[in-house]
């Protein structure tokens, strides 16, 4: 059966889908590659648009110069900090609350669960949100990055559905042996929900890393700026930034390799993208499994 010869029609169909997917995959990956080869090639060639498919006159000046821009290192620390702490808290609380919501005996369970889920659909709006955050003294405050993410309805739905798919007899036998809710959560639920927790981890880490609007609104003090926010600013101000790099005495560039606005912009972009590109492959295998069980049943 398997070895059946392909008909002409099927052959054309196969060639067609291979080509289509090939093209789309290329379009997804080429921009990143393009950025990378441009940041490590001679800035003159890059500015002339001569670097298209492979790097030429490779150098890493752009990175060493851009990384020394004051504030960038600090912004990176802020980004890493909010990603690590925010993700841990989000995953922990999503797992715990999602588990609690599977307990039918909880007082008012369906009301609480629904009131958490509907928040996916409405928001008070920008101004009321800003005023609330301001009144809670969460402007220019690290906690503003961490606290609001604790409740992420989508994650809670994922965990709840996943836990409901676990055979109840496992939990029952543990509670017969005298295990309380906490004990069951740690010893049974957490180990069994690893795929979904890994999925939530990458979701929430990527969200934290990519968040940008909250900084734009809530933070005026530069010490709370994140990489993402600086990137946005540099996209708008990269000419002055390039001038700054060129003119600072300790960074005197060789004349042949002046930092241009484009090279600075590309380098900063690359620095913000890289962590995601590096971490991504390690988590990719969890997605299908985690998403499948969690989301379809909603």
């Amino acid at each position: 059966m398997r070895k059946k010869k392909l008909t002409a029609g099927e052959l054309i169909f196969q060639i067609m889908i291979y080509t289509l997917f090939g093209l789309f995959t290329l379009s997804c990956i080429y921009p990143f590659y393009y950025l990378f080869i441009n940041t490590i090639s001679s800035n003159d060639l890059s500015a002339a648009g001569d670097i298209k498919f492979y790097p030429r006159q490779i150098h890493f000046d752009n990175y060493s110069k851009v990384l020394r821009i004051s504030g960038l290192g600090h912004a990176a620390t802020v980004s890493v900090y909010r990603t690590v702490v925010g993700t841990l808290l989000t995953v922990g609380s999503s797992a715990f609350l999602g588990y609690l919501f599977t307990k039918k005996e909880m007082w008012g369970r369906s009301i609480w669960y629904r009131s958490v889920v509907v928040t996916m659909y409405f928001s008070a709006g920008l101004i009321p949100w800003y005023i609330t955050m301001h009144n809670l003294h969460l402007t220019n405050n690290y906690l503003a990055y961490i606290l609001p993410t604790i409740i992420t309805p989508f994650n809670i739905i994922l965990v709840k559905t996943f836990v409901e798919a676990i055979p109840p007899s496992l939990e029952e036998s543990a509670s017969m042996d005298g295990a309380g809710y906490m004990r069951v959560f740690w010893s049974i639920i957490v180990p069994l929900t690893t795929p979904i927790l890994a999925t939530i981890t990458i979701f929430s880490a990527v969200n934290q890393w990519n968040s940008f609007i909250d900084t734009a609104f809530l933070m005026t003090d530069t010490k709370y700026f994140t990489l993402q926010f600086l990137l946005w600013r540099y996209l708008n101000e990269s000419s002055s930034l390039a001038a700054l790099i060129r003119n600072s005495p300790d960074m005197a560039a060789s004349v042949a390799n002046m930092q241009t606005p484009t090279s600075v912009r590309m380098t900063v972009t690359m620095i913000v993208v890289l962590p995601i590109l590096i971490v991504y492959p390690f988590f990719q295998r969890f997605f299908v499994k985690g998403i499948m069980i969690g989301a379809v049943k909603g």
Binding site: E10, F13, Q14, Y18, F21, F24, T25, S27, C28, I29, P31, Y34, G49, K52, L97, L100, E105, M106, W107, G108, W112, S115, V116, V118, T119, Y121, S123, A124, L126, I127, P128, W129, Y130, I131, T132, L136, P148, I150, I151, Y181, V206, W209, N210, F212, I213, Q228, L235, T262, R265, M266, V273, I276, Y280, P281, F287, V288, K289, M292, V296, G298
Partner: protein
């Protein structure tokens, strides 16, 4: 409470069980309580800010010192012709882009079906891995990439298109207002197609293989297998996602449009959320609040409509 324990659990020791349940009923609630407080603070408390829509609020002056104006700001939406035109323009953009999104939400289904048709395992894996990457970068970064590829001076795509004679020298894709809706939906799918297909790939993997074998015996062609088994298997998932997105029709976020907006394309790119942001930045707080209030009301109505529809069609509620 209220129901006799024996009726709930006709087990060996009903009295003991019911006491255990009673104790845990509140214990569980107290365990969840801190999280419910957080939900209240960050999702429900801000709603009290809707009160600003009824005052002539100016940032910096306390609310108690500002005059109460009732429905003034809501009335301006309908009574002031320029304002009405503005809101209609923004509404048109919002609905246009949301509907384009709804119409094209069939893309991930097609993507998933075609991907499973690929025979080579490594190629399938490679495509799946690489096409999900764009989903994980922010819109600011997408814009940064778009800028590098399409900028007039040194964007590589612009260069190639000029060399091929498709566009004139100096055509500025990013600053053009024409086709911006289509451009936005293309970027949207560039970012989310591979990711969106994951759900359907999972659903296809969950289809009973025996069904395929059964029709194979009957001599069904590849196309017939897709038509009679794969597609019916995907319809429930498709429906759930479609209904969920109906609730978000006016709620299409702002990050994408914020990243891509500029003076040239602003008229056609401004969606409701971005509009609220822009008028808020022009310091018109009460009007911005009024608009976002209406938006939330419409969202909730749409959500309940979709929910009713879901109950009717699939006998299953989504919230």
């Amino acid at each position: 409470m209220g129901v006799p324990a024996g009726e709930l659990l006709p087990s060996v020791d009903p009295v003991h069980r019911s006491r255990w349940k009673m104790k845990n009923k509140h214990k569980l609630f107290f365990m969840a309580f801190p999280f419910l407080v957080v939900t209240f603070i960050f999702y429900y408390l801000p709603i009290s800010g809707w009160i600003y829509a009824f005052y002539d609020f100016i940032p910096g002056i306390p609310l108690s010192d500002t005059p109460y104006v009732g429905l003034k700001w809501f009335k301006t939406i309908v009574s002031n012709p320029t304002q009405t035109a503005e809101v209609l323009r923004v509404l048109k953009n919002t609905l246009a882009m949301s509907s384009l999104g709804l119409i094209t939400s069939i893309f991930p289904v097609i993507f998933a079906i075609m991907l499973t048709e690929i025979k080579s395992g490594w190629y399938r894996k490679l495509v799946q891995t690489l096409t999900t990457i764009p989903n994980f970068i922010s819109w600011i970064l997408v814009y940064a990439l778009a800028f590098s590829l399409f900028s007039v001076d040194n964007g590589v795509i612009t260069h190639i298109l000029v060399q091929l004679g498709v566009v004139d020298e100096g055509y500025n894709f990013l600053a053009s207002s024409s086709n911006i809706w289509v451009t936005m939906i293309v970027w949207y799918w560039w970012k989310s197609l591979g990711w969106g297909a994951i759900l359907y790939l999972a659903a296809i993997a969950g289809i009973d293989q025996e069904l395929y074998e059964a029709v194979e015996v009957d001599g069904a062609s590849r196309f017939r297998k897709i038509w009679h088994i794969t597609i019916p298997g995907l319809i429930p998932t498709f429906f759930v996602l479609l209904l969920l997105s109906i609730g978000n029709l006016v709620n299409n976020g702002m990050e994408q449009y914020f990243a891509f907006q500029n003076a040239m394309n602003k008229d056609s790119i401004e969606v409701l959320d971005l509009y609220v942001y822009n008028i808020a930045f022009a310091n018109n707080f009460p009007f911005a609040t009024a608009v976002s209030m209406l938006k939330s009301v419409v969202s909730v109505i749409l959500l309940f409509a979709a929910n009713t529809l879901s109950k009717m069609v699939r006998d299953e509620s989504i919230i």
